[in-house]
Symmetry: C2
Protein backbone atom coordinates (compact mmCIF):
# COMPACT_ATOMS: atom_id res chain seq x y z
CA UNK A 1 0.00 0.00 0.00
CA UNK A 2 1.46 3.41 -0.96
CA UNK A 3 2.12 6.04 1.67
CA UNK A 4 -0.81 8.37 2.33
CA UNK A 5 -0.22 11.95 1.35
CA UNK A 6 -2.40 13.29 4.10
CA UNK A 7 -4.14 12.04 7.22
CA UNK A 8 -6.72 9.97 5.39
CA UNK A 9 -7.25 7.58 8.29
CA UNK A 10 -7.88 10.47 10.66
CA UNK A 11 -10.58 11.88 8.38
CA UNK A 12 -12.27 8.49 8.18
CA UNK A 13 -12.16 8.14 11.94
CA UNK A 14 -13.54 11.62 12.57
CA UNK A 15 -16.37 10.90 10.17
CA UNK A 16 -17.22 7.63 11.89
CA UNK A 17 -17.26 9.24 15.32
CA UNK A 18 -19.44 12.11 14.18
CA UNK A 19 -21.74 9.64 12.43
CA UNK A 20 -22.19 7.64 15.63
CA UNK A 21 -23.30 10.70 17.56
CA UNK A 22 -25.47 12.07 14.79
CA UNK A 23 -27.22 8.89 13.70
CA UNK A 24 -27.90 7.79 17.26
CA UNK A 25 -29.30 11.14 18.28
CA UNK A 26 -31.34 12.04 15.21
CA UNK A 27 -31.86 8.74 13.40
CA UNK A 28 -30.76 7.83 9.90
CA UNK A 29 -32.76 10.13 7.67
CA UNK A 30 -32.83 12.79 10.38
CA UNK A 31 -29.07 13.16 10.05
CA UNK A 32 -27.77 15.02 7.03
CA UNK A 33 -24.30 14.59 5.60
CA UNK A 34 -23.84 18.33 5.85
CA UNK A 35 -24.52 18.12 9.58
CA UNK A 36 -22.17 15.16 10.05
CA UNK A 37 -19.32 16.65 8.06
CA UNK A 38 -19.67 19.96 9.87
CA UNK A 39 -19.41 18.15 13.21
CA UNK A 40 -16.40 16.15 11.98
CA UNK A 41 -14.85 19.34 10.57
CA UNK A 42 -14.28 17.80 7.16
CA UNK A 43 -15.55 18.64 3.72
CA UNK A 44 -18.94 17.40 2.56
CA UNK A 45 -17.45 15.46 -0.34
CA UNK A 46 -15.19 13.52 2.06
CA UNK A 47 -18.08 11.20 2.82
CA UNK A 48 -18.36 10.23 -0.79
CA UNK A 49 -14.62 9.81 -1.13
CA UNK A 50 -14.11 7.64 1.95
CA UNK A 51 -17.41 5.76 2.08
CA UNK A 52 -18.99 6.38 -1.33
CA UNK A 53 -22.42 7.15 0.15
CA UNK A 54 -24.41 7.92 3.28
CA UNK A 55 -25.67 4.35 3.22
CA UNK A 56 -22.14 2.90 3.31
CA UNK A 57 -21.08 5.31 6.03
CA UNK A 58 -23.89 4.02 8.22
CA UNK A 59 -23.13 0.39 7.41
CA UNK A 60 -19.42 0.72 8.19
CA UNK A 61 -20.18 2.57 11.39
CA UNK A 62 -22.51 -0.24 12.50
CA UNK A 63 -20.21 -3.07 11.42
CA UNK A 64 -17.36 -1.59 13.43
CA UNK A 65 -19.47 -1.92 16.57
CA UNK A 66 -21.22 -5.19 15.82
CA UNK A 67 -17.99 -7.01 15.03
CA UNK A 68 -16.61 -7.02 18.59
CA UNK A 69 -20.12 -7.51 19.99
CA UNK A 70 -20.74 -10.65 17.99
CA UNK A 71 -17.24 -11.94 18.64
CA UNK A 72 -17.94 -11.67 22.36
CA UNK A 73 -21.24 -13.49 21.96
CA UNK A 74 -19.56 -16.37 20.18
CA UNK A 75 -16.80 -16.44 22.76
CA UNK A 76 -19.29 -16.72 25.64
CA UNK A 77 -21.10 -19.58 23.96
CA UNK A 78 -17.85 -21.41 23.37
CA UNK A 79 -16.72 -20.85 26.95
CA UNK A 80 -20.03 -22.25 28.15
CA UNK A 81 -19.72 -25.23 25.87
CA UNK A 82 -16.21 -25.95 27.11
CA UNK A 83 -17.49 -25.92 30.69
CA UNK A 84 -20.34 -28.30 29.90
CA UNK A 85 -19.94 -32.00 30.70
CA UNK A 86 -19.97 -34.38 27.74
CA UNK A 87 -23.46 -35.64 26.99
CA UNK A 88 -24.92 -32.36 28.23
CA UNK A 89 -25.63 -29.13 26.34
CA UNK A 90 -25.38 -25.40 26.93
CA UNK A 91 -28.63 -24.29 28.52
CA UNK A 92 -31.09 -21.85 26.99
CA UNK A 93 -30.38 -19.41 29.79
CA UNK A 94 -26.68 -19.46 29.02
CA UNK A 95 -27.34 -18.94 25.33
CA UNK A 96 -29.62 -15.99 25.94
CA UNK A 97 -27.23 -14.34 28.35
CA UNK A 98 -24.45 -14.77 25.82
CA UNK A 99 -26.67 -13.11 23.28
CA UNK A 100 -27.85 -10.20 25.39
CA UNK A 101 -25.37 -9.30 28.09
CA UNK A 102 -22.41 -8.42 25.81
CA UNK A 103 -24.36 -5.37 24.71
CA UNK A 104 -23.39 -3.82 28.02
CA UNK A 105 -19.83 -5.15 27.93
CA UNK A 106 -18.82 -4.52 24.33
CA UNK A 107 -19.32 -0.80 24.53
CA UNK A 108 -17.37 0.12 27.59
CA UNK A 109 -15.25 3.24 27.42
CA UNK A 110 -12.96 2.79 30.39
CA UNK A 111 -15.14 2.30 33.45
CA UNK A 112 -18.57 3.15 32.13
CA UNK A 113 -20.62 2.01 29.19
CA UNK A 114 -20.69 4.00 25.98
CA UNK A 115 -24.42 4.47 25.82
CA UNK A 116 -24.35 6.12 22.45
CA UNK A 117 -23.03 2.91 20.96
CA UNK A 118 -25.43 0.68 22.89
CA UNK A 119 -28.40 2.75 21.83
CA UNK A 120 -27.10 2.67 18.28
CA UNK A 121 -27.54 -1.07 18.17
CA UNK A 122 -31.19 -0.76 19.08
CA UNK A 123 -31.69 2.00 16.56
CA UNK A 124 -30.61 -0.35 13.79
CA UNK A 125 -34.24 -1.38 13.72
CA UNK A 126 -35.37 2.16 12.89
CA UNK A 127 -33.55 2.56 9.60
CA UNK A 128 -34.96 1.93 6.14
CA UNK A 129 -35.70 -1.80 5.81
CA UNK A 130 -33.24 -2.30 2.96
CA UNK A 131 -30.47 -0.91 5.15
CA UNK A 132 -31.06 -3.13 8.16
CA UNK A 133 -31.41 -6.11 5.85
CA UNK A 134 -28.01 -5.37 4.36
CA UNK A 135 -26.50 -4.94 7.82
CA UNK A 136 -27.94 -8.26 8.86
CA UNK A 137 -26.40 -9.87 5.80
CA UNK A 138 -22.98 -8.43 6.54
CA UNK A 139 -22.79 -8.70 10.31
CA UNK A 140 -25.29 -11.25 11.55
CA UNK A 141 -25.42 -14.12 9.09
CA UNK A 142 -22.06 -15.58 10.01
CA UNK A 143 -22.94 -15.31 13.68
CA UNK A 144 -26.30 -16.93 13.09
CA UNK A 145 -24.63 -20.26 12.33
CA UNK A 146 -22.99 -20.48 15.74
CA UNK A 147 -26.07 -19.30 17.54
CA UNK A 148 -28.56 -21.55 15.75
CA UNK A 149 -26.29 -24.54 16.35
CA UNK A 150 -26.38 -23.86 20.09
CA UNK A 151 -30.16 -23.38 19.91
CA UNK A 152 -30.64 -26.65 18.02
CA UNK A 153 -28.66 -28.49 20.69
CA UNK A 154 -30.67 -26.90 23.47
CA UNK A 155 -34.01 -27.47 21.72
CA UNK A 156 -33.59 -30.81 19.91
CA UNK A 157 -37.31 -31.28 19.41
CA UNK A 158 -37.82 -28.14 17.33
CA UNK A 159 -37.58 -28.03 13.56
CA UNK A 160 -35.11 -25.60 11.93
CA UNK A 161 -38.04 -23.43 10.87
CA UNK A 162 -39.30 -23.19 14.44
CA UNK A 163 -35.80 -22.33 15.61
CA UNK A 164 -35.68 -19.51 13.10
CA UNK A 165 -39.07 -18.16 14.15
CA UNK A 166 -37.96 -18.05 17.75
CA UNK A 167 -34.71 -16.40 16.75
CA UNK A 168 -36.75 -13.68 15.03
CA UNK A 169 -38.74 -13.07 18.18
CA UNK A 170 -35.58 -13.03 20.26
CA UNK A 171 -33.81 -10.50 18.06
CA UNK A 172 -36.89 -8.33 17.79
CA UNK A 173 -37.40 -8.21 21.52
CA UNK A 174 -33.77 -7.34 22.09
CA UNK A 175 -33.43 -4.60 19.48
CA UNK A 176 -36.81 -3.16 20.30
CA UNK A 177 -36.04 -3.04 24.00
CA UNK A 178 -32.78 -1.21 23.34
CA UNK A 179 -34.41 1.19 20.93
CA UNK A 180 -37.48 1.86 23.03
CA UNK A 181 -35.73 2.80 26.21
CA UNK A 182 -37.49 5.71 27.80
CA UNK A 183 -39.87 6.23 24.92
CA UNK A 184 -43.01 4.93 26.54
CA UNK A 185 -45.24 7.11 28.65
CA UNK A 186 -45.00 6.30 32.32
CA UNK A 187 -41.51 4.87 32.14
CA UNK A 188 -39.62 8.11 31.81
CA UNK A 189 -36.17 7.10 32.87
CA UNK A 190 -33.63 7.15 30.10
CA UNK A 191 -31.12 4.50 29.34
CA UNK A 192 -28.13 4.97 31.61
CA UNK A 193 -25.13 3.08 32.79
CA UNK A 194 -26.81 1.96 35.98
CA UNK A 195 -29.95 0.46 34.53
CA UNK A 196 -28.65 -0.99 31.29
CA UNK A 197 -27.33 -4.23 32.69
CA UNK A 198 -30.35 -5.02 34.92
CA UNK A 199 -32.56 -4.40 31.89
CA UNK A 200 -30.47 -6.79 29.83
CA UNK A 201 -30.77 -9.45 32.52
CA UNK A 202 -34.54 -9.10 32.53
CA UNK A 203 -34.51 -9.31 28.77
CA UNK A 204 -32.39 -12.46 28.79
CA UNK A 205 -34.79 -14.12 31.21
CA UNK A 206 -37.76 -13.08 29.09
CA UNK A 207 -36.21 -14.49 25.95
CA UNK A 208 -35.03 -17.73 27.51
CA UNK A 209 -38.48 -18.45 28.83
CA UNK A 210 -40.07 -17.61 25.49
CA UNK A 211 -37.72 -19.90 23.64
CA UNK A 212 -38.60 -22.74 25.98
CA UNK A 213 -42.34 -22.27 25.46
CA UNK A 214 -43.98 -25.04 23.46
CA UNK A 215 -44.99 -24.13 19.94
CA UNK A 216 -48.76 -24.13 19.63
CA UNK A 217 -50.44 -26.08 16.88
CA UNK A 218 -52.37 -23.91 14.44
CA UNK A 219 -56.09 -23.64 15.08
CA UNK A 220 -58.77 -22.59 12.66
CA UNK A 221 -60.49 -19.66 14.31
CA UNK A 222 -59.46 -16.64 16.27
Amino acid sequence: MPALRKSSAATRERLLRAAERCFTEHGYEGSSLRQITRMARVNLAAVNYHFSSKRELWLEMMQRRLGPLNAERVRLIEVARAATPVGSVVSLEQICEAMVLPVAKAFRDGKSCNLTAARMVGRAISVPPALSKELSRRSLDQYWRVFSAALRDALPDLSPAEIEWKFYFLMSAMLGALAWQGRQQGLERELNTDNLEPMLRRLAAFIASGLRAPMPVAKAKV
Copy 2:
Protein backbone atom coordinates in the same frame (compact mmCIF):
# COMPACT_ATOMS: atom_id res chain seq x y z
CA MET B 1 -71.27 21.37 9.26
CA PRO B 2 -71.72 23.18 5.96
CA ALA B 3 -72.18 21.22 2.77
CA LEU B 4 -68.96 20.39 0.97
CA ARG B 5 -68.58 22.08 -2.36
CA LYS B 6 -66.35 19.40 -3.75
CA SER B 7 -65.32 15.83 -2.96
CA SER B 8 -62.94 16.68 -0.15
CA ALA B 9 -63.49 13.37 1.60
CA ALA B 10 -62.77 11.44 -1.59
CA THR B 11 -59.42 13.18 -2.01
CA ARG B 12 -58.49 12.44 1.58
CA GLU B 13 -59.46 8.81 1.17
CA ARG B 14 -57.50 8.39 -2.05
CA LEU B 15 -54.46 9.89 -0.40
CA LEU B 16 -54.74 7.55 2.58
CA ARG B 17 -55.08 4.50 0.35
CA ALA B 18 -52.12 5.47 -1.80
CA ALA B 19 -50.10 6.21 1.33
CA GLU B 20 -50.79 2.74 2.72
CA ARG B 21 -49.50 1.07 -0.40
CA CYS B 22 -46.52 3.36 -0.79
CA PHE B 23 -45.33 3.51 2.81
CA THR B 24 -45.70 -0.23 3.31
CA GLU B 25 -43.87 -1.08 0.13
CA HIS B 26 -41.05 1.47 0.20
CA GLY B 27 -40.89 2.59 3.81
CA TYR B 28 -41.39 6.08 5.19
CA GLU B 29 -38.47 8.01 3.77
CA GLY B 30 -38.42 5.81 0.67
CA SER B 31 -41.84 7.14 -0.31
CA SER B 32 -42.02 10.63 -1.76
CA LEU B 33 -45.09 12.80 -1.66
CA ARG B 34 -44.80 13.26 -5.41
CA GLN B 35 -45.01 9.49 -5.82
CA ILE B 36 -47.97 9.18 -3.46
CA THR B 37 -49.94 12.04 -5.00
CA ARG B 38 -49.28 10.70 -8.50
CA MET B 39 -50.63 7.30 -7.44
CA ALA B 40 -53.68 8.94 -5.81
CA ARG B 41 -54.16 11.14 -8.90
CA VAL B 42 -54.33 14.31 -6.83
CA ASN B 43 -52.23 17.42 -6.76
CA LEU B 44 -49.04 17.51 -4.73
CA ALA B 45 -50.30 20.34 -2.55
CA ALA B 46 -53.34 18.29 -1.54
CA VAL B 47 -51.20 16.55 1.08
CA ASN B 48 -50.41 19.84 2.70
CA TYR B 49 -54.01 20.98 2.52
CA HIS B 50 -55.60 17.84 3.98
CA PHE B 51 -52.86 16.62 6.32
CA SER B 52 -50.47 19.58 6.60
CA SER B 53 -47.36 17.41 6.22
CA LYS B 54 -45.97 14.02 5.26
CA ARG B 55 -45.56 13.25 8.95
CA GLU B 56 -49.24 13.85 9.67
CA LEU B 57 -50.31 11.87 6.63
CA TRP B 58 -48.40 8.88 7.97
CA LEU B 59 -49.75 9.34 11.49
CA GLU B 60 -53.38 9.55 10.34
CA MET B 61 -52.92 6.56 8.09
CA MET B 62 -51.58 4.52 11.01
CA GLN B 63 -54.16 5.72 13.51
CA ARG B 64 -56.97 4.71 11.18
CA ARG B 65 -55.71 1.12 11.26
CA LEU B 66 -54.61 0.94 14.87
CA GLY B 67 -57.93 2.22 16.18
CA PRO B 68 -59.99 -0.87 15.24
CA LEU B 69 -57.06 -3.12 16.11
CA ASN B 70 -56.76 -1.80 19.64
CA ALA B 71 -60.53 -1.78 20.07
CA GLU B 72 -60.55 -5.47 19.23
CA ARG B 73 -57.75 -6.15 21.70
CA VAL B 74 -59.66 -4.44 24.48
CA ARG B 75 -62.85 -6.29 23.50
CA LEU B 76 -61.10 -9.68 23.70
CA ILE B 77 -59.70 -8.91 27.13
CA GLU B 78 -63.12 -7.85 28.38
CA VAL B 79 -64.76 -10.94 26.91
CA ALA B 80 -62.17 -13.09 28.66
CA ARG B 81 -62.72 -11.25 31.92
CA ALA B 82 -66.48 -11.72 31.68
CA ALA B 83 -65.96 -15.46 31.21
CA THR B 84 -63.62 -15.73 34.18
CA PRO B 85 -65.03 -16.97 37.50
CA VAL B 86 -64.96 -14.49 40.37
CA GLY B 87 -61.79 -14.77 42.40
CA SER B 88 -59.90 -15.83 39.30
CA VAL B 89 -58.09 -13.69 36.70
CA VAL B 90 -57.57 -13.63 32.96
CA SER B 91 -54.54 -15.78 32.20
CA LEU B 92 -51.34 -14.53 30.66
CA GLU B 93 -51.99 -16.70 27.62
CA GLN B 94 -55.39 -15.09 27.11
CA ILE B 95 -53.89 -11.63 27.44
CA CYS B 96 -51.15 -12.34 24.94
CA GLU B 97 -53.54 -13.83 22.43
CA ALA B 98 -55.79 -10.80 22.79
CA MET B 99 -52.77 -8.66 22.10
CA VAL B 100 -51.38 -10.54 19.14
CA LEU B 101 -54.10 -12.41 17.27
CA PRO B 102 -56.26 -9.40 16.30
CA VAL B 103 -53.48 -8.37 13.95
CA ALA B 104 -54.72 -11.10 11.62
CA LYS B 105 -58.38 -10.37 12.25
CA ALA B 106 -58.51 -6.58 12.18
CA PHE B 107 -57.23 -6.31 8.65
CA ARG B 108 -59.50 -8.66 6.81
CA ASP B 109 -60.79 -7.55 3.43
CA GLY B 110 -63.64 -9.93 2.84
CA LYS B 111 -62.32 -13.46 3.12
CA SER B 112 -58.58 -12.89 3.20
CA CYS B 113 -56.31 -10.73 5.28
CA ASN B 114 -55.15 -7.38 3.97
CA LEU B 115 -51.45 -8.05 4.27
CA THR B 116 -50.49 -4.55 3.29
CA ALA B 117 -52.14 -3.29 6.43
CA ALA B 118 -50.76 -6.03 8.65
CA ARG B 119 -47.23 -5.43 7.42
CA MET B 120 -47.77 -1.72 7.93
CA VAL B 121 -48.14 -2.27 11.65
CA GLY B 122 -44.78 -3.98 11.84
CA ARG B 123 -43.18 -1.27 9.75
CA ALA B 124 -44.14 1.28 12.37
CA ILE B 125 -40.93 0.30 14.09
CA SER B 126 -38.85 1.29 11.05
CA VAL B 127 -39.82 4.94 10.92
CA PRO B 128 -37.89 7.82 12.46
CA PRO B 129 -37.97 7.44 16.26
CA ALA B 130 -39.82 10.70 16.81
CA LEU B 131 -42.61 9.48 14.55
CA SER B 132 -43.17 6.13 16.22
CA LYS B 133 -43.03 7.85 19.58
CA GLU B 134 -45.78 10.21 18.53
CA LEU B 135 -47.85 7.34 17.16
CA SER B 136 -47.45 5.51 20.44
CA ARG B 137 -48.64 8.59 22.28
CA ARG B 138 -51.72 8.95 20.11
CA SER B 139 -52.76 5.33 19.62
CA LEU B 140 -51.26 3.15 22.31
CA ASP B 141 -51.27 5.08 25.56
CA GLN B 142 -55.00 4.84 26.15
CA TYR B 143 -54.87 1.16 25.36
CA TRP B 144 -51.94 0.64 27.69
CA ARG B 145 -54.16 1.31 30.73
CA VAL B 146 -56.47 -1.60 29.97
CA PHE B 147 -53.65 -3.89 29.07
CA SER B 148 -51.43 -3.11 32.05
CA ALA B 149 -54.40 -3.58 34.39
CA ALA B 150 -54.89 -7.08 33.03
CA LEU B 151 -51.16 -7.75 33.33
CA ARG B 152 -51.10 -6.53 36.93
CA ASP B 153 -53.93 -8.90 37.81
CA ALA B 154 -52.20 -11.82 36.11
CA LEU B 155 -48.81 -11.02 37.66
CA PRO B 156 -49.64 -9.68 41.12
CA ASP B 157 -46.09 -10.15 42.41
CA LEU B 158 -44.45 -7.83 39.93
CA SER B 159 -43.88 -4.13 40.51
CA PRO B 160 -45.36 -1.64 38.04
CA ALA B 161 -41.89 -0.99 36.66
CA GLU B 162 -41.35 -4.68 35.99
CA ILE B 163 -44.73 -4.85 34.27
CA GLU B 164 -43.69 -2.01 32.04
CA TRP B 165 -40.39 -3.66 31.15
CA LYS B 166 -42.16 -6.80 30.16
CA PHE B 167 -44.65 -4.83 28.13
CA TYR B 168 -41.72 -3.28 26.26
CA PHE B 169 -40.35 -6.70 25.46
CA LEU B 170 -43.76 -7.91 24.38
CA MET B 171 -44.38 -5.01 22.02
CA SER B 172 -40.87 -5.18 20.62
CA ALA B 173 -41.09 -8.87 19.87
CA MET B 174 -44.46 -8.41 18.19
CA LEU B 175 -43.62 -5.43 16.01
CA GLY B 176 -40.23 -6.82 15.13
CA ALA B 177 -41.67 -10.16 14.14
CA LEU B 178 -44.20 -8.51 11.86
CA ALA B 179 -41.60 -6.23 10.35
CA TRP B 180 -38.93 -8.86 9.92
CA GLN B 181 -41.01 -11.39 8.06
CA GLY B 182 -38.96 -12.88 5.24
CA ARG B 183 -36.03 -10.58 5.77
CA GLN B 184 -33.65 -13.02 7.37
CA GLN B 185 -31.41 -15.28 5.31
CA GLY B 186 -32.54 -18.88 5.30
CA LEU B 187 -36.16 -18.11 5.99
CA GLU B 188 -37.18 -16.82 2.61
CA ARG B 189 -40.91 -17.22 2.68
CA GLU B 190 -42.81 -13.97 2.66
CA LEU B 191 -45.68 -13.02 4.85
CA ASN B 192 -48.87 -14.42 3.35
CA THR B 193 -52.42 -15.10 4.35
CA ASP B 194 -51.71 -18.73 5.15
CA ASN B 195 -48.78 -18.29 7.48
CA LEU B 196 -49.70 -15.08 9.28
CA GLU B 197 -51.98 -16.59 11.87
CA PRO B 198 -49.75 -19.57 12.76
CA MET B 199 -46.89 -17.12 13.19
CA LEU B 200 -49.02 -14.97 15.48
CA ARG B 201 -49.88 -18.03 17.57
CA ARG B 202 -46.22 -18.90 17.95
CA LEU B 203 -45.53 -15.31 18.90
CA ALA B 204 -48.29 -15.26 21.50
CA ALA B 205 -46.91 -18.43 23.09
CA PHE B 206 -43.40 -16.97 23.09
CA ILE B 207 -44.53 -13.79 24.75
CA ALA B 208 -46.74 -15.44 27.33
CA SER B 209 -43.93 -17.67 28.47
CA GLY B 210 -41.54 -14.74 28.59
CA LEU B 211 -43.93 -12.71 30.69
CA ARG B 212 -44.24 -15.56 33.16
CA ALA B 213 -40.47 -15.87 33.53
CA PRO B 214 -39.16 -14.78 36.94
CA MET B 215 -37.35 -11.46 36.92
CA PRO B 216 -33.69 -12.08 37.74
CA VAL B 217 -32.00 -10.14 40.50
CA ALA B 218 -29.17 -7.95 39.28
CA LYS B 219 -25.73 -9.42 39.68
CA ALA B 220 -22.43 -7.61 39.69
CA LYS B 221 -20.41 -9.21 36.94
CA VAL B 222 -21.05 -10.40 33.42
